[in-house]
């Protein structure tokens, strides 16, 4: 098992807040398929909340496709990197 980075901790905390699931339960397998509360409306809130928490803008094309925890983390990391 890999150690959580600071990015992981913050992102999991945001997911936990928005979706109402325990941060400790979030893994690379976490996706709308196995989280009942992760519906399209929650997804909209999630994108807004992640942008707010990290000060990034998730490109429109990608926003709808971020349908798993690793995809979300990858995009946030990219945006943080290009933002510098």
């Amino acid at each position: 098992m890999t150690t959580d980075t600071d990015l992981d901790r913050r992102l999991k905390s945001t997911l936990s807040d928005v979706l109402g699931i325990a941060a400790g339960d979030i893994t690379d397998e976490t996706s709308p398929d196995n989280v009942a509360t992760w519906d399209s409306l929650a997804h909209m809130n999630l994108i807004i909340a992640v942008e707010e928490a990290f000060g990034v803008t998730i490109p429109d094309d990608e926003a709808v496709d971020l349908t798993s925890y690793p995809l979300l983390r990858l995009t946030v990391a990219e945006q943080l990197a290009t933002g510098h």
Partner: protein, 600 residues
């Protein structure tokens, strides 16, 4: 504990909800946690019908309700299906329905097309909106309030011809909304003002608007929700009635005891007097809407009286005030006396002062009083006063409510008559009380519903009825709605009591009995029972049954049913039931000092 969990610090959910800058993730979590922690709060049922996605508005209604010490149970309607939604809300027992109208639902790209659409199309649009709104307004009686959102722009621009045409078109449609909102039980909701308060750039998220059909940002939703919860007075859980004012630094600049009546700052043409002068105008407007204005000031009574009577720039005059507590006693004491004299609860009182010390002293002594601090800078006071006015937001009110100051003044006069009249019987005899009973009077539906929403202290079952429920009860052959209208030689107190009866022979059940606190202490509550017995017997009933349901506020009526002549027959979880056999028992007759008339 894993590293991920340690990042998740505990929060105080209510503090997080009160923070306007709280991020969305925090708000979502805090709403969940606060609802779990405060599961015992009273639940207020909202229904939300919108032509755009407003899920965040539902979340924010929960947030604002929690901050007002209630829990919102929000039912989301289907997108744009207002009539079906309202019918479903009514069937589900929703108390407050919100209809959020949107221009794009009326005509796609409305704001951009208004300039080129042409009159025939706009006239057709207007006609369709009028028809739908009439059907929406027809459904209002099923709810305590139907909040009808005004049309509003999402992309206002400066002075282009297109933008001006859009403004004109919006004004035209809003005239139709205002027309529909004149129906009983309908209130407009100024969405444009909410968006403007947030700032249009922060209020409308165009990406989420076009991609998800959800134009309002979290912050905009929060501001709209704040207004809705305020307009429902937290779903009818409170009603503020009296505004108690400090004088120096609140009504005028300077200190009258030191500067003298001529030295205070109240010149309309000069700062800072101009700011106080503006606030006084706003106070008079509140008084005319029925808010009871009182003074609690540490001053020599003659100084304050001199300013009110003779200062040329005063807008407030003695006739605007119902009670003045000017002297050197504690302000908390003054406020207690004011509440007692007016017969209102301390939670109906708002106190305004510029001194943090005085406010803190009142808070410590009377935690139920709502406190407002005058800003330290005079220029901030006229706009900050808006927050005071919002505390008194009420639905449209009929009957005698607008003339409340004179009625409560009569009450205060009657109280001092009581103090001077020696024994109580003599006092009551001098009042020349008359109680007029009305049975199923259709014109009284709104006032009766309003009274059932507002009365807490003298209320045997604390059952709230919407306008539609009262109308329905009046039309039902097995139910009767009896009103009590009270007058005495000091004032006409108007419709101040309600009884709802269910006549299922052989049992007549008293569903509700309540009186406005402004007619308490005169045995008015004993007046109607002979008439009630007659109504019961006419319907073939031989037993009268009634319940006392205790609440935090109605302890004073616990002994009421035995006093009328009913005996307890059993305790349930939520109250005690009483009964009397009408063939063998005579219920209490009207007291000698009052005249009871029945219009039936």
């Amino acid at each position: 504990m894993s590293a991920a969990e340690s990042a998740h610090l505990p929060i105080d959910p209510l503090a997080a909800l009160a923070d306007p800058e709280a991020p969305l993730a925090t708000v979502l979590r805090a709403v969940r946690e606060a609802e779990a922690q405060h599961a015992d709060l009273p639940v207020v049922r909202f229904g939300l019908s919108a032509s755009v996605v407003t899920d965040l508005l539902a979340t924010m209604l929960q947030r604002r309700s929690l901050l007002a010490a209630t829990r919102a149970d929000v039912t989301q309607g289907a997108l744009g299906a207002h009539l079906e939604n309202l019918d479903a809300f009514a069937a589900a027992g929703v108390r407050h329905a919100c209809v959020v109208l949107s221009l794009d639902a009326v005509m796609p790209a409305f704001e951009e097309r208004a300039a080129t659409a042409g009159e025939p199309l706009m006239a057709a649009v207007e006609q369709r909106v009028r028809q739908e709104l009439a059907l929406i307004a027809e459904r209002a009686p099923a709810f305590a309030t139907l909040h009808l959102g005004l049309f509003h722009r999402l992309t206002p621009q400066v002075c282009t011809a297109t933008s001006e045409a859009a403004d004109r078109a919006v004004a035209r449609l809003n005239a139709v909304v205002v027309e529909a909102a004149s129906a009983p039980g309908v209130q407009t909701l100024d969405v444009a003002a909410a968006l403007a308060a947030v700032g249009i750039d922060r209020a409308v998220d165009n990406r989420v608007r076009f991609r998800f059909g959800a134009p309002y940002s979290a912050r905009a939703c929060d501001e709209i929700a704040r207004r809705v919860v305020g307009a429902t007075r937290a779903g009818g859980t409170y009603l503020r009635k009296a505004l108690v004012l400090d004088c120096d630094g609140t009504l005028w600049g300077g200190i009258v005891g030191e500067d003298g009546p001529e030295g205070i700052r109240l010149d309309p043409n000069q700062y800072p007097g101009s700011t106080f002068w503006s606030v006084q105008h706003q106070l008079v407007a509140l008084q005319q809407q029925g808010v009871l204005l009182c003074l609690a000031s540490k001053n020599n009574p003659e100084d304050v009286a001199e300013v009110f009577a003779n200062h040329p720039a005063m807008v407030l005059r003695p006739e605007h005030l119902i009670l003045s507590e000017v002297g050197w006693h504690e302000k908390g004491e003054s406020i207690e006396r004011i509440a007692a004299t007016l017969g209102i609860g301390l939670d109906s009182v708002v106190f305004v002062d510029d001194s943090p010390y005085e406010l803190e002293a009142v808070r410590a002594r009377l935690p139920d009083v709502t406190l407002v601090r005058v800003p330290a800078e005079a220029w901030a006071w006229p706009s900050a006063f808006g927050a005071v006015a919002e505390l008194f937001t009420t639905g449209r009110s009929q009957d005698a409510d607008a003339d409340k100051t004179s009625q409560y003044r009569a009450l205060a006069a009657a109280k001092s008559a009581e103090a001077g009249a020696g024994d109580r019987a003599t006092f009551l005899a001098t009042l020349e009380l008359r109680v007029r009973l009305g049975v199923d009077v259709a014109e009284q539906v709104e006032r009766i519903s309003e009274l059932t929403q507002k009365s807490n202290q003298f209320n045997l079952t604390t059952r709230r009825y919407g306008v539609g429920e009262i109308a329905h009860a009046m039309a039902d052959p097995n139910r009767r709605v009896v009103s009590l209208s009270v007058s005495d030689r000091f004032a006409d107190h108007g419709l101040t009591g309600v009884i709802v009866l269910r006549l299922d022979a052989p049992v007549c059940t008293v569903e509700a009995f309540l009186l406005s606190c402004r007619v308490l202490g005169r045995d008015v509550e004993m007046a109607p029972w002979q008439v009630v017995c007659a109504l019961a017997r006419d319907a073939g009933c031989s037993t009268i049954r009634a319940t006392f349901r205790p609440t935090r506020k109605n302890a004073q009526v616990a002994p009421f049913w035995p006093a009328v002549g009913l005996v307890p027959i059993g305790d349930e979880a939520d109250g005690t039931t009483f009964e009397a056999d009408l063939s063998t028992t005579a219920l209490c007759p009207p007291p000698h000092h009052l005249e009871a008339l029945c219009d039936h």
